[in-house]
Symmetry: C3
Subunit: 336 residues, 3 copies
Amino acid sequence: MKKTLGEIAEIIDGVVVGDKNTIITNVAGITDSKNGDITFVSNPKYIQYIESTKASAIIISEDQKLIVKIPAIVSKNPYLSYTKLLNSIAIEKEKHPSGISKNSAVSASAVINKNISIGDFSVISENAEIGSNTIIYPNCYIGRNVKIGEHCLIYPNVTIREDIIVGNNVIIHSGTVIGSDGFGYVPENNTLKKIPQIGIVEIGDNVEIGANVTIDRATTGKTLIGKGTKIDNLVQIAHNVQIGENSIIVAQVGISGSTKIGNGVTIAGQAGLIGHVTIGDGAIVAAQAGVIGDVPPKETVSGYPARPHKQAMKLYALIQKLPELFEELKKLKSNK
Amino acid sequence: MKKTLGEIAEIIDGVVVGDKNTIITNVAGITDSKNGDITFVSNPKYIQYIESTKASAIIISEDQKLIVKIPAIVSKNPYLSYTKLLNSIAIEKEKHPSGISKNSAVSASAVINKNISIGDFSVISENAEIGSNTIIYPNCYIGRNVKIGEHCLIYPNVTIREDIIVGNNVIIHSGTVIGSDGFGYVPENNTLKKIPQIGIVEIGDNVEIGANVTIDRATTGKTLIGKGTKIDNLVQIAHNVQIGENSIIVAQVGISGSTKIGNGVTIAGQAGLIGHVTIGDGAIVAAQAGVIGDVPPKETVSGYPARPHKQAMKLYALIQKLPELFEELKKLKSNK
Amino acid sequence: MKKTLGEIAEIIDGVVVGDKNTIITNVAGITDSKNGDITFVSNPKYIQYIESTKASAIIISEDQKLIVKIPAIVSKNPYLSYTKLLNSIAIEKEKHPSGISKNSAVSASAVINKNISIGDFSVISENAEIGSNTIIYPNCYIGRNVKIGEHCLIYPNVTIREDIIVGNNVIIHSGTVIGSDGFGYVPENNTLKKIPQIGIVEIGDNVEIGANVTIDRATTGKTLIGKGTKIDNLVQIAHNVQIGENSIIVAQVGISGSTKIGNGVTIAGQAGLIGHVTIGDGAIVAAQAGVIGDVPPKETVSGYPARPHKQAMKLYALIQKLPELFEELKKLKSNK
C-alpha cells in the first residue's frame, strides 16, 4: 500500500485533521506502529498510547481530536473505518488459486459450475455440486452428493463428508471436519452398539467456520448452522444441534446434541452446553460457563452451573469474603 | 426407504397398533417429523410432543399406548428399536469407496490384504499392513510399520504415525492424529530439551474415535485404548494414558500423561484429568470436572477440584445460599 | 537396542552398581518393565514400585541405592539420564522420509534448499522458501511466500497459510493449522461483517507445536511464538497473541486475541485467557483456570476467575467447610 492520508480518508469516509499529503504505507496496532503506518483507537484501554505511538497517522473519534498531535482522520466509528481500510488492502493483496488442478481428483459425475478453483490433491466425489466462483484449496475432501454454494472459500485440509449442504459465501478454515458421525451408542450386553447417523449438516449463507472445528451430522434430520453465524477455531458442534442466524461461537466451545441456539447469541470461549437445552435470542454465555438448562432470550449467564451473570458475580464476591465470614463466626461463638 | 408399518415392526421386533399398511418413507425426531415419517419417544422430555407430532407413525413403549392417536409400534425398548431401524436404513444407504486408487501412494513393502479400499492421495508407508475389508478414505497418511486390522473405516485426512497398532472393526473419523509425540521436556540451561517419545499407541478392537482427536504415542511402552471404547471429537489423550474397555470419552475431554482409566467409565464433555491418576471401573466424571486425584470404582465426581457429585451438589446449593448467610450473620452481630 | 549396563552407564554419565555386563534390550516405565528392560525412578510416587519391578536394571539417585536389589546405574539426575538414554535410542531408530516425492506439487517459484524432503501429495506454493535439511511429510500445504527455516520437521496433514514465517529447528505435528484468519467481525445492520486479517504468524527457532493446534494470523502485524516455546495438542492461539521464549502451553489451552505471555511461563491444560491481558515472566496458570486480568511475573494463579493459587486453595477449603458453617449458624440462631 502507498496512499496519502487524504486518499485513505475518502476510502473510510472520514475527515482529515493535519497534513492530508502524509504518505501511509501500512496499517498497524497502536503499540506496534512505526513511521509510515496508520493506526486507530477504539478500545478505551489503548487511549493511553495515543501520545507515544510511532504511527504517522491515526484514525480517531471526534472526542479524541484534541489529544492527538499527529495527522489524523476523524471518524464516527473508528473501528468500522479501520475495518474498511483493511478491506481495501485485503482486496489488493488477495490472491487465491484459480483453475482446476490436474493433480485433483474430480468425479465425472460431479457438477462443476463456472469459474471454480480446485487445488492440488483435492477430491470431489460422485454427484457433488460446486457453485460458481467457489475456491477449494489443496488437500480437501468433498464427499458424494455434497452441495456447496457460490463464492465459497474452502481452505486446505478441510473434510466435508457425504450429503452435506453448504450455502453461498461460506468460508471454512483448514482442518475443519463437517459431517462426521454424531456420537451415539446404545448399551447392549455390556458393550456399546453404534447408533447409525444417517442425517446431514446444513450450513447457511455467509457462515464462517474456523480451523479444526468439528460439526457432526444428525442422527436423523439435520444439524443446522443458520445464516451469518460465525464459528471460531476448535469448536465442537454435536449431532442435531440447531444454531440460529448471526450468532457468535468463540473458540473451543462445546455444544452437545440437539441443543438449540437462537439468533444473535454469543457463546464465549471454552463454554460448554449440555444437550437438549434452548438458548434464547440475544443471550450471552460467558467464557468457560457450564450451561445445564435453558437460557432465556437476552440473558447473560456465567459460571458452573451457569447462572445469571450478576448473581454469579455476587456469589463470587461472597466467596472471596469467606475468610472473614469464618473469622466473624468464630468471634460470635467465643463471645457467647 | 419405503416400507409399511408392518414391515418395520418385523425389523424392530415390535407390535403394530393401528393400520399396519401405513406407508413410511423416512425416520425423524418427534418435533421434526412430517407426513410419511416414523418417529419415537424415549427421553421423557419429549413425551409432551406425542400429541402434536406430524409423523405418520411412532415407536413407543407399552405405557404410552393410550395417549397415542397415530399408528404406532409398541416396543419393549423404543430407543433400541429405533436404533435397529436406523441400522437397516444405514445398511441400505451405505456406500463406501472401493478399490485402490491409482492416485494413492502405496509402498512396495506394504502388506495389503484382500478387499481393501485406499482412496485418492492416501499414503501407505513402508512395511505398513492393512487388514482385509478395511477402507481408507482419501488424503490419509499411514506411517511405516503401522498395523491396521480388518473391517476398519478410516475417514479422510486421518494421520496414523509410524509403528501404531490398530485392531479390527475400528472407526477413525477425519482429522484425527494418532501417534504424535507425547509432550515431554526436561529443563536444561534455561531451555526445554525434548524427551524423545519412542513408544507407540495401541487401539483395541471395536473402538471408535471421533474427528480431530489427538492421541499421543508413549514415551516408552504404549498409550492404550481398550476394546470397545468410544471417543468423541476433539479429545486429547496424552502419552502413556491407558483406557480400559467399553468406556465413553465425550468431546473435548483432556487426559494427561500416564493416567489410567478403567472399564465402563464415562468422562463427560470438557472434563480434564491430571496425569498419573487412576479412575476406577464404572466411574463417571461429570462435564467440565477437573480431576486431580484417584476416583474409586463406580464413584461419580464433578466440579473443580472434582469431588463426589452429591457432595459437590450440596456445596453448590450452599454457595447459592451465601447471600442469606451473610445477611443472617449481619443480623446476629447487630443483635448482640 | 542391545547394550550392556556398563555401556549405558557411559552414555548417560552414571555409575554402575551390580553386574555391569547385564544385557539391556529396551527401556520401559517401572510398572511396565520386563526382563531385559532398564527403567528409572524420578517421580516419588513410583518409588514404591522399585522392589516389585521386573526390569533387569534401574536408573536411580544416590539415596535410593540401598533399597534397590537389581543392577542399577546411580545418576545425579535419573530423569535427565533416562532422557539421554532415550535420545540415543531415538537417534538409532529415527528414519524420516528423504527426497522430494514425484507426487508432490512444488511451485516453480519456490526456493528449495539443500537436502530437503517433501512427501507425497504435499504442496509448496509460489515463492515459498524451505530451509536446508527440513523434512515435510506427506499431505501438507505450504502457502505462498511462506518461509520455513532449516532442520524443521513438519508432520503429515499440516497447513501453513500464506506469508507465515517459521524459524529453524521447529517441529510441527500433524493436523496443525498456522495462519488461519483471526476471529474478528464488526456488527453492521444486524449482521456480522468480517474484519480482514492481513497480518502474519511468526514462529521462533526451536519451537515445538503439537497436533491439531490452531494459531491464527494477526489482524495487522503478527502473532508471535517466541524461541524455544513448546505448545501441546489442540491449543488455540488467537490473532495478535504474543508468546515469549521457553514457555510451556499445555493441551487444550485457549489464548484470546492480543494477549501477551512472557518468557518461561507455564499455562496448564484447558486454561483459558481472555484477550488483551499480560502474563508476566515465569508465571504459572493452573489447569482449567480462567484468567480475566493481568498476572504478575512468577505468580501462580488458579480457578475461575483466576486468583493467586494459595488464596484460591484457601477459598476451596472454606467452601468445603460450608456445611458446618451453616450448621453452626443455625445453632447460634436457635441459642439466642
